[in-house]
């Protein structure tokens, strides 16, 4: 109703393969819109990865994250060996669930795409049969910019690009730059 979200599957089809969707993060509504862009059977096996500190800050948020979004909560600030953020993500992937991650590590202010954090690379290095799908979310930051509570109606779209795989000897900076480039490419069309 507010966003009239449209999905464009450009480089891949909505299939049930094991996938990591990575998207630009501009709004708290991001993964709701990503979910809405997916067919029901894909949605059922796809879980968003979200920040532990934000989503456990109040009981309401926690209930939303656990019951409604079935989010994989990871630590993004005080990372120790005991709460290694990779573990919950890998556990979900091994259980056959695809993930949605926002590799910028937080909501961005404007339209640009921030630098990627390393998680994508570490997931790629695990040797699972994974496809990395760039998903560019357009306009959603205008519906509800960071710091605003009231949404306004603006048409949004989600564009899914062609899948990426890590090269055999591709290093961390190279892979992250390639992934970010794929997302930027989608944003320009």
């Amino acid at each position: 109703m507010l966003t009239g979200a449209r999905a464009h599957w450009l480089g891949c089809a909505p299939e049930g393969k094991l996938r990591v969707y990575f998207a630009n993060h501009t709004s708290n509504l991001d993964f709701v819109v990503l979910w809405a862009a997916m067919p029901r059977h894909i949605r059922a096996v796809t879980r968003p990865v979200a920040a532990h500190d934000y989503w456990t800050a109040s009981p309401l948020r926690l209930a939303l994250a656990q019951r409604v979004f079935k989010a994989v909560l990871i630590e993004r600030k005080r990372v120790t060996r005991a709460n290694n953020p990779m573990e919950p993500m890998l556990a979900a992937l091994r259980a056959g669930q695809s993930l949605i991650i926002f590799p910028e590590g937080g909501r961005m202010d404007g339209d640009g795409i921030g630098e990627f954090r390393g998680g994508l690379y570490h997931l790629a290095k695990e040797g699972l049969e994974l496809e990395f799908i760039p998903a560019y979310i357009e306009n959603l930051n205008r519906v509800m910019p960071k710091g605003e509570v009231l949404p306004i109606p603006i048409l949004c779209s989600v564009t899914f690009g062609p899948p990426l795989k890590i090269g055999a000897d591709e290093g961390k900076p190279a892979f992250l730059a390639r992934a970010r480039g794929a997302l930027l490419e989608l944003s320009k069309r």
């Binding site: 205008r142 605003e148 306004i152 109606p153 603006i154 048409l155």
Partner: protein
Amino acid sequence: MKFDAQMECLLGGVLALLIVASITGWILKGALRGEAAQKLVANLNARINAWWIMAAVFGAALAAGRTASVVMFGFVSFLALREFITITPTRRHDHRALFWAFFVVLPYQYWLVAANWYGMFAICIPVYAYLLIPIRNAIAGDTERFLERTSKIQWGLMVCVYFVSYAPALLDLQIPSYENQNAKLLFFLVFVVQISDVLQYVWGKCCGRRPIAPHVSPNKTVEGFAGGGLSAVAAGAALWWITPFNPWQAAAMSAVIVLMGFFGGLVMSAIKRDRGVKDYGEMIPGHGGIMDRIDSLCFAAPVFFHLTRYFFTR
């Protein structure tokens, strides 16, 4: 509003037109060969199918009465404004002003129509909303491209909300010896606007050669405008019996509607070219967005309203 025999007759006529259009589309689909022709026919048939839905929505709103018609046009305004703002780049600090535009100004304008408060209806957006938007934006404190951003929101409100709201406002005009028949006046406006678009499209596709404004809208041709416009005026004049006008007056009114509708399409196309998009949206298959369908109505409705109000009401 109770439907009289004339109104039933009109809706029957629209139904007949749609059936003829669908059959024609179906015949063309079988008759034409070649990829380009098939693509054109596919678009034509998508348009015809969308017409069925649009006619059904409009007919149902008219049948359900005055309030339903006002609500329907309010909803159309909402969708149009959403498309308009989507293609217009706004900045983060416009957020609150936009919130006012969507959720305060728009509903209030349609409430004024429903409440039949003409004095306020006519000035609410051109005076009060016009002042409110820059004030809210100034408080937000972002001065970059301030004038441009503010005017975009003001334009959106004028075109998508204010002008469109003149259509349901026709229902409240007090025209001597035409009491309780205003639904037919609204039908007249919408029918002439839309049939003019359709006929200009058909004439343009059949014998359009010389484009009128190639940079703004390559599909608008002299032949399409002349042929389609004149046939639409003839169609409007032939409907004089449902209006408070005599045949000549109906023809003149139709001519004004056709002309303003044409200019509306031209101006709204210029905005699209400026923004580098082909359509305002993808909501109506074959047509584009809702704004692509009502651009002519936006410009024709206020002029038709004021001419009727000036010359024909008490």
